[in-house]
């Protein structure tokens, strides 16, 4: 893949450039990183490079301001987990955390400087009604969804509608498997659950291989790539950590992906971590995952699409066809998620609804200042 000209991607490839950036370069980099949710990660990179004193304080304040939020989230999720543990006391399963919350509770380096908007849980399908009842007794209730949304989630998706805590506002996404059952890949969730590792009392996270495979699968089934680059950085961080901390990790990774029917998504994940972020992987892993690569034409198309999609959603990174590429990947994600006879009615319905919906009502801000409701602000519930 051609090396992207985008400032942020360039920097993620070569963090030693951090120390020599000009103010003009920071002027582009900070908005790009803000959009990609990677500002906190830059703060971590600065410290890893040991170049803090070389960065102007007017810059460092922005990186560290996000790090403050991230630290608070890590603290809060651990606290929230105690509450979850209390709620779950009587349930038969243990809780399995996924993604951001899992990284935070397991103390993985991927959690440092990272923001997350909700807590993702995995539970067995046969327990899901029970779990939902227990959680509702402890204050987590389903948000404002109409019947159609509820049915869409329960019937076709791999999760129930998000549950929001009545007082604290924290949001739980409860999944019974990691990919939609209507989709092309069908990893057996029981296998993931059986291999999960306990990190705190009654709370588990996926084992290292599964965590990496899930991270890759999630990334390449998302419809919106607003945070695609961040998800790719997650993968990079997980690989770097498990390479050091988990003996036999690389030997187990590919066989496990085959067992879970997720070798193709793993191929994509590892491919873009190498080409975009410049990560080097063991040769045999590259050879083994290449077995799952698509044909040559498809590779060219996908490389081209993903190169656009991973660029931060900022005008400085847009080129001709970026919009088209994002749209094609959006369609692709839905196509992977469900067959056309389900997909078409759903997309038509969604298009109609977004056309008919009146703007959401004003939201009270902390200072009593009513501003129109921010469109994307789930993480800010943590900030208070």
């Amino acid at each position: 893949m051609r090396q992207s000209f985008c400032q942020l991607v360039k920097l993620l490839r070569k963090p030693d450039l951090l120390a020599v950036l000009t103010l003009e370069q920071w002027d582009l980099l900070i908005p790009q990183a803000r959009h990609s949710l990677l500002l906190g990660h830059l703060s971590i990179l600065v410290d890893r490079q040991g170049v803090r004193e070389k960065i102007p304080s007017v810059i460092m304040r922005h990186l560290d301001s996000v790090k403050v939020v991230s630290d608070k989230q890590i603290h809060s999720v651990n606290w929230e987990l105690r509450k979850l543990g209390e709620a779950y006391d009587t349930a038969e399963d243990s809780i399995i955390l996924l993604k951001g919350a899992a990284y935070a509770v397991a103390g993985l380096q991927a959690s440092q400087g990272r923001l997350f908007s909700d807590i993702d849980l995995l539970v067995s399908k046969q327990h899901i009604d029970y779990v939902e009842r227990i959680l509702s007794l402890h204050g987590w209730v389903s948000g404002h969804h109409n019947d159609y949304d509820g049915r869409y989630y329960r019937q076709w998706m791999h999760e129930i509608p998000p549950l929001r805590h009545m007082q604290r506002g924290t949001v739980l996404d409860v999944h019974h498997t990691i990919l939609p059952p209507t989709g092309r890949y069908h990893p057996n969730p029981q296998k993931l659950i059986q291999s999960a590792r306990e990190v705190v009392n009654g709370v588990k996270v996926l084992c290292p291989e599964d965590m990496v495979i899930h991270s890759a699968a999630h990334l390449f089934h998302e419809g919106e790539f607003e945070h695609g680059l961040r998800d790719l950085v997650d993968l990079q961080e997980l690989l770097a950590q498990f390479d050091q901390s988990e003996p036999g990790f690389w030997q187990r990774l590919v066989p496990r992906a085959i067992e879970l029917d997720l070798l193709r998504p793993l191929y994509y994940g590892l491919h873009y971590v190498q080409t975009l972020l410049g990560v080097s992987l063991p040769d045999e892993i590259v050879t083994q995952t290449n077995a799952a690569q698509p044909n040559a034409l498809m590779r060219i198309v996908m490389d081209c699409l993903f190169e656009h999609a991973f660029a931060p959603d900022h005008p400085s990174c847009d080129r001709a066809l970026t919009g088209l590429a994002r749209w094609m990947l959006y369609v692709r994600s839905h196509y992977l998620r469900m067959p056309l006879y389900l997909l078409l009615p759903h997309l038509i319905r969604k298009a109609w609804k977004s056309h008919m919906d009146t703007p959401e009502k004003l939201e009270l801000n902390i200072d009593g200042l009513q501003l129109p409701k921010p469109k994307v602000n789930r993480w800010h519930f943590w900030a208070k």
Partner: protein, 305 residues
């Protein structure tokens, strides 16, 4: 040479604001602003006339713009977008609320993206090198009071955010226009005929809003931190006599923390910062109905020992 925004004619300023944009430095933060809206252009040109004109800054903390949603909507209930870093965090607002929306948006940038200070929702003023912090719920009359104090020789440090240092009880100035609402607009016009007040933003969720040009002091553009001396909770009460009453420090701590945007986010550092602040300050509740009496009371405040 350092020229100011006001040194440019309105037409030329509007053209620059619409095309390359202008970087506005207020206190420790700079905004790169672009807008094609006449109300925003006029408002900025008037209210920020004495701010440095900067069209080629290397770096801005926030890149913001205010523009119509799209050209087709220009004729029917026109709406505008506030964008930060080319993304609109809010739903569009009606055109006639332009300037107020812009000022709120600028506040929002700081409320949501800055954590190297403890930020209190408060007006801050300075006299003789000591800062007065007035936290207050909306409607308590703190903007009217700070506008009046500003017009009578106090230096406005901020109408919205007290930027309190993490140690040492220092407040960093962030001087921008004071937002006046509804009846306050006429009160301030009547209080001082020389007051420069910008265009009205009508029918906002707070009613009619207009802004007072508040950089009236020779040091208004300075961002040098000032030592905090007083924390006072004002309350406008029609017909009441002027009363300044000592407030317990513990109670002040709790009330002020409640008015903070990021006290809990900062955890122990937030707590330490507030301890330093409240320890260094004399704390009061203040009830007023007469602005002149209020100013006299504040002019007679003694520095904490």
């Amino acid at each position: 040479m350092n020229s100011t925004i006001g040194s440019l004619g309105l037409a030329e300023f509007s053209r620059v604001l619409k095309t390359s944009g202008v970087t506005l430095k207020t206190g420790p933060f700079s905004y790169h602003i672009k807008s094609s809206l006449p109300a925003v252009q006029q408002g900025l040109h008037l209210l920020y006339a004495d701010y440095a004109l900067c069209t080629e800054a290397a770096f801005a903390d926030f890149h913001i713009s205010m523009n119509p949603v799209n050209s087709l909507r220009r004729w029917v209930r026109p709406k505008i977008h506030f964008c930060m870093d080319h993304k609109s965090p809010f739903l569009p607002m009606p055109l006639k609320q332009g300037l107020a929306f812009m000022e709120w948006g600028m506040n929002w940038c700081i409320s949501n993206h800055v954590n190297d200070y403890v930020k209190l929702h408060a007006a801050v003023l300075e006299k003789n090198g000591r800062a007065l912090i007035m936290p207050g719920a909306p409607g308590a009359g703190k903007s009217t009071l700070s506008a009046a104090l500003t017009l009578r020789g106090w230096r406005l440090l901020s109408d919205e955010h007290a930027l309190v240092s993490l140690t040492g009880a220092m407040v960093t100035p962030l001087c921008r226009p004071v937002g006046l609402k509804n009846a306050s607009i006429e009160v301030i016009k009547g209080f001082d005929s020389g007051a420069v007040i910008g265009p009205l933003s009508e029918d906002t969720h707070k009613g009619t809003v207009a802004h007072l040009k508040a950089d009236l002091h020779s040091d208004s553009q300075s961002d040098t931190p000032v030592k905090a001396a007083w924390v006072i909770f004002p309350r406008y009460s029609p017909g009441s006599s002027t009363r300044l009453e000592k407030k317990q420090k513990a109670e002040t701590f709790l009330s002020a923390a409640k008015q903070s945007f990021n006290y809990s986010l900062l955890g122990e550092r937030g707590y330490q910062s507030m301890v330093d602040l409240i320890s260094a300050c004399d704390c009061y509740d203040f009830v007023y109905s007469n602005l002149n009496e209020a100013i006299e009371t504040f002019n007679n405040l003694k520095e904490p020992v």
